[in-house]
Symmetry: C2
Subunit: 199 residues, 2 copies
């Protein structure tokens, strides 16, 4: 057998990682396979021995975030999934709604970078996106320790506030207003958390 067993798997991972960054930056339609492959240090033609189509790469990039950059991000933010307590939810929000995250176009959460793209994408991509959301909501839910329908509702609202605040801040050409939106979402999120029964 030529090449080591995981050689191809590693190349594939490099393509997905390059795609994740470029999709975050420029969106699905404006990223060409040429650019993805070049960023991964390869050439155009090899792409189709790794992926069925450009669409297949899209869902791989979205769902790849959770285990890759997303895990790294949780570690940096000091979020420990094994500990479940309200302070962890606060920690998540501090990280998600931070100025650093707002400035990080390449490393940002795909839920911020790609929502309107995803809303028009195929079911596979949308399922990957929903999986990201469920993971965020699940973390909120467990950390707030309210295992009722109201608890889930609160967790969903927190997700909407975090993602919504960042999505809007990113559209604004005026960085002062963008920062104000980020801060406002942060404040409201804290308010929602402190209104939770278990806190």
């Amino acid at each position: 057998m030529p090449y080591k067993a995981d050689h191809k798997k590693q190349t594939r991972a490099r393509i997905v990682e390059a795609a994740r960054i470029l999709f975050n930056r420029d969106g699905f339609d404006r990223v060409t396979i040429d650019r993805v492959m070049e960023e991964a240090g390869l050439t155009r033609g090899g792409f189709y021995s790794h992926f069925r189509s450009k669409d297949a790469l899209y869902s791989a990039a979205v769902s790849g975030f959770l285990m890759g950059r997303g895990a790294q991000w949780r570690a940096e933010a000091g979020v420990d999934p094994s500990r479940t307590e309200p302070s962890m939810a606060v920690q998540m929000i501090e990280g998600y709604l931070s100025t650093a995250h707002l400035g990080d176009r390449d490393g940002q959460c795909p839920m911020i970078a790609l929502p309107s793209d995803v809303a028009r994408a195929n079911p596979e991509v949308r399922a990957a996106y929903q999986q990201l959301l469920e993971s965020m909501v699940g973390l909120f839910e467990r950390n707030l320790g309210d295992n009722t329908p109201e608890g889930r509702q609160r967790a969903l609202a927190l997700a909407a506030l975090c993602i919504g605040g960042m999505v809007i801040a990113r559209t604004l050409p005026d960085s002062t207003t963008a920062e104000a939106v980020r801060k406002a979402a942060h404040g409201a999120a804290m308010q929602l958390i402190s209104a939770a029964p278990s806190v």
Copy 2:
């Protein structure tokens, strides 16, 4: 002078309206000038006597919403800009975070349909988008009658929650979860409003 004075202006308005709907549905990149012109009952070639470029149409479509479909929408939702009282803010949220709005792909608010497109668009488009946001935030602010920095912050957070909730709901392939997100955002918005000092 051949053709009435406002003939060209009306044609232009028809193009903008067609563009607004198509952009809402499919996003900027996937809408072709051909389709816009066809939808407006015209042919390809005439486009450039109305707009400098496809980009110029984009910002016209985004800022056109406020006076066109947006005004109609406010009327339907029973929002009266001349009355400023908390019940009007509640009215706005009821309309914005409604099941009807979630189902209305063509008539929806462009802030829901296009945020990740706009984040990568030129400054002109982004300015038009910011104008939409300012108008929504201004309405919240005045209606809640809290003319302090905290009042503006609350208004910004409400906007983030309304837009964020709808943006996320729209990405989800599973309509039950989508509806849950919408409801959760609605509940949290009401909670934020009722926590305002003047209510």
